[in-house]
């Protein structure tokens, strides 16, 4: 008899208040990442049941107020103010930080005055206790005119009370509210004639927005025609609320004397030190890279051999024919090509989420901001740039927290220069062919070449950002204001869930495209205009010779364009297929060379490619020059359909996505 669907509850709060811990505790594994159709934004929601009531909990990005400055913050504003929004909540839970209650209550008051049935959760009680802060529950409920629950996500204290309170969330009209200054009354009255069901406070809040609000166009119009300066309204409201809240906090909490037991300052004296801070950061980067390449290599080899076993198994059990070929040469390697990235992506996100949970990431932003600023980037670009080493897709998405539109755009545009894990197999293959084995002191040539390519990617990223910053205009002044949270022992469940969700997003998002391309390539490489003739002549399926397949025809037709680079048509096919996803190069070359020879005990791909000769000059096709140019091409060219799709979504325009494609590939073509 449950006619009503899920009750939608938005979870909102300042950054670093343990909001996502509460979200994880309440919803567990019942989480999903969704997309709004037609809108550029992605959101996280989860489901839970309590006393036979079902709830959908929507996790909104951390904000300090409803005066947005970044894309993340605009998401929160629009979700709560636009009643047409698919995630417009029925109720709101505001998570507050017991240590910095005043800051949290500012947001709480704003949301409550919008008219939402609201529950206030004061979290991080353990930290408050440690500092000697005590709360008077009865007074808190009285003074804040709202239900209040005290929790501690770390020890799960108060979770039962929280669930019980969620069931009872209701709206109580407050006696105290923000009084709209007289000088704005007349404008608000005139707007009320147009939007009858908007409250006065809502109109005020809409007038106080810097950005134009598309879902209430008349208000934006009123703002510009009356020359209202939003910043003044914002300052006024914030200061008035703070002077009121100062008294409230003194009444509901008492702090006999400040106990400065925290170890945060001691840790910070090393981690933000002007010398040791950097040493430790680069040391940490080194450990992350080691883990990415050496630790990940074992599960990756396991996955690779597993899939080649599956492929061979199919070849031996299913009779020869297009179905066998589709499964063994198309589908299985395609799925394998996606799964192979999971170890690296999972390891990288384990580190990133762990560092974020501890509270270290803000310190990295602080340390790096000075050095990235001259290139038009911000300290906050560090996370996208590091993530770019695994995969540009989550990296580009993580740029969302950068407030300044120009810094964010630059970060998005240059992040794909970072050497992502998809380039690694390509580099490894080509390096092993053209760079001689041998040592220089203790360093191995091939190792140096690989490291050089990583450094090259990073240098190219900041160099092109430096160039592009002169061509991109910025509406707002860039600034950096960042909370430095106290250091915390990370919660294992938060990390596990975070890594699981990020990896799942990658497999389901990028994976689909990589898989589709692999199958498409298989089809193009297996069939050709002459296939039908083959069928008629032979009762046995032989496939088509690569040169006669559609893929071969395409490869040959682009040969004139790549000949100046010193490539042959086979490399052309490899490059062309790489525009879908770079890592496709290796299986493509494998396909090209194994389709080409009917030899059963075929030698390894590396040896085959090494032996390949130019029919005119009889010199090896893969020499040092063509090898290096191929490496450079892969380092610079924008060859990833999924990244293009994500950049389009994140910048909300094809302009920047296509600009990036042309820019990066242009550099690649010219440099080789």
């Amino acid at each position: 008899m449950n006619i009503k669907k899920f009750e939608k509850i938005a979870l909102i709060g300042n950054p670093n208040v343990g909001k996502s811990s509460l979200f994880n505790i309440l919803t567990g594994l019942n989480q999903k990442t969704g997309n709004y159709p037609g809108i550029t934004v992605e959101f996280k929601s989860g489901f839970f049941k309590y006393n036979n009531n079902a709830y959908e909990l929507i996790d909104l990005p951390g904000v300090y107020s409803l005066f947005p400055n970044s894309v993340d913050e605009e998401i929160v504003f629009e979700t709560l103010l636009n009643e047409e929004h698919p995630n417009f909540p029925d109720k709101v839970i505001v998570v507050a930080d017991a240590l910095h209650l005043r800051r949290s209550l500012l947001l709480f008051q704003q949301i409550k005055e919008l008219g939402f049935p609201t529950l206030l959760v004061i979290n991080m009680m353990d930290e408050a206790e440690r500092k000697g802060i005590k709360f008077d529950t009865k007074k808190a409920v009285l003074e804040l005119e709202n239900e209040v629950v005290f929790t501690n996500a770390r020890t799960k204290m108060g979770i039962a009370e929280l669930k019980a309170a969620i069931e009872k969330i209701s709206y109580k009209k407050p006696n105290h509210y923000f009084e709209i200054p007289k000088e704005y009354q007349s404008k608000i009255e005139s707007m009320k004639h147009i939007y009858r069901n908007l409250s006065e406070y809502k109109i005020w809040l809409l007038l106080a927005q810097k950005q134009s609000v598309t879902f209430y166009p008349e208000i934006t119009h009123c703002k510009t025609s009356n020359k209202i300066i939003p910043k003044r309204l914002q300052t006024l409201e914030t200061l008035r609320r703070y002077s009121f809240l100062q008294n409230v906090i003194q009444n509901v909490s008492n702090q006999e004397k400040l106990i400065n037991k925290g170890i945060t300052n001691k840790i910070d004296s090393i981690l933000t030190h002007n010398f040791f801070g950097y040493i430790l950061f680069f040391g940490l980067l080194f450990i992350i890279f080691q883990a990415l390449f050496y630790v990940a290599q074992y599960p990756m080899e396991l996955i690779e051999s597993g899939f080649s076993y599956a492929s061979n198994f199919l070849k031996n059990t299913i009779p020869e024919g297009p179905i066998q070929s589709l499964l063994a040469d198309g589908l299985i390697p395609g799925i394998g090509g996606v799964i192979i990235f999971i170890p690296q992506i999972a390891i990288l996100f384990t580190f990133l989420i762990l560092l974020e949970e501890i509270g270290y990431m803000s310190r990295v932003v602080y340390l790096m901001d000075r050095w990235l600023k001259p290139f038009g980037l911000s300290g906050k670009s560090v996370v996208p740039l590091i993530s770019g080493v695994a995969c540009a897709i989550p990296a580009v998405m993580s740029a969302r927290s950068i407030e300044n539109a120009k810094e964010r755009l630059l970060t998005i545009l240059v992040t794909p220069f970072m050497t992502c894990s998809a380039r690694l197999p390509v580099y490894a293959l080509i390096i092993s062919i053209v760079i001689p084995k041998g040592d220089w002191w203790l360093l191995n040539y091939q190792g140096i070449a690989l490291m050089g390519l990583y450094i090259l990617g990073f240098l190219m990223a900041i160099f092109s950002s430096f160039i592009l910053k002169f061509f991109i205009k910025s509406q707002y002044k860039s600034y950096l204001i960042l909370d430095m949270p106290i250091y915390k022992i990370p919660l294992f469940s938060n990390i596990a869930l975070g890594v699981f969700n990020k990896t799942k997003d990658f497999v389901l998002g990028a994976g689909k495209i990589i898989l589709a391309i692999s199958v498409l390539l298989w089809a193009l490489g297996t069939f050709g205009p002459k296939t039908e003739a083959n069928w008629e002549n032979n009762t046995v399926w032989t496939g088509t010779k690569l040169e006669d397949s559609y893929l071969g025809i395409i490869g040959k037709s682009i040969e004139p364009a790549i000949k100046p680079l010193g490539y042959d048509w086979k490399m052309g096919i490899g490059i062309l297929s790489s525009f879908a996803a770079r890592e496709v190069f290796v299986p493509t070359m494998a396909t090209i060379y194994s389709i080409d020879s009917d030899d059963e005990n075929s030698p390894k791909l590396v040896d085959k490619m090494r032996k390949e000769q130019n029919p005119e000059t009889l010199k090896p096709v893969y020499n040092l020059a063509s090898g290096v140019s191929l490496l450079l091409f892969y380092a610079f060219a924008m060859q990833c359909a999924s990244t293009i799709a994500i950049v389009k979504r994140e910048t909300n325009s094809w302009k920047w996505a296509l600009f990036q494609l042309v820019f990066m590939t242009g550099i690649a073509y010219l440099s080789v």
């Binding site: 800051r103 500092k131 200061l239 602080y366 340390l367 002044k477 600034y479 950096l480």
Partner: protein, 84 residues
């Protein structure tokens, strides 16, 4: 409403020495980002610099009753006026 202070010789936050305590008295111009206020740096807040990156890099300040810590660029720190 916000005061634009023009008293003699107010100090910019960035002029303080490390660990030197001061009190916020206002903002030097209207270009201050609102986020500074939202985070709780308002008039009469005690504030001190905990660390800074050389070559005019960002600054970490500690402020308020509960020792909140935030990082700011020098430009933002210049907007905040303090007295010793």
């Amino acid at each position: 409403m916000l005061k634009i202070i023009s008293l003699p010789k107010p100090l910019h936050l960035s002029q303080l020495k490390k660990n030197e305590k001061a009190i916020v008295i206002g903002f030097s111009n209207e270009e201050y980002p609102l986020k500074i206020i939202e985070l709780g740096i308002i008039e009469n807040t005690t504030i001190c610099i905990k660390s800074r990156v050389p070559f005019n890099g960002p600054i970490i300040v500690e402020f308020g009753d509960n020792n909140a810590k935030i990082a700011l660029r020098k430009n933002e720190a210049d907007c905040i006026l303090v007295k010793r």
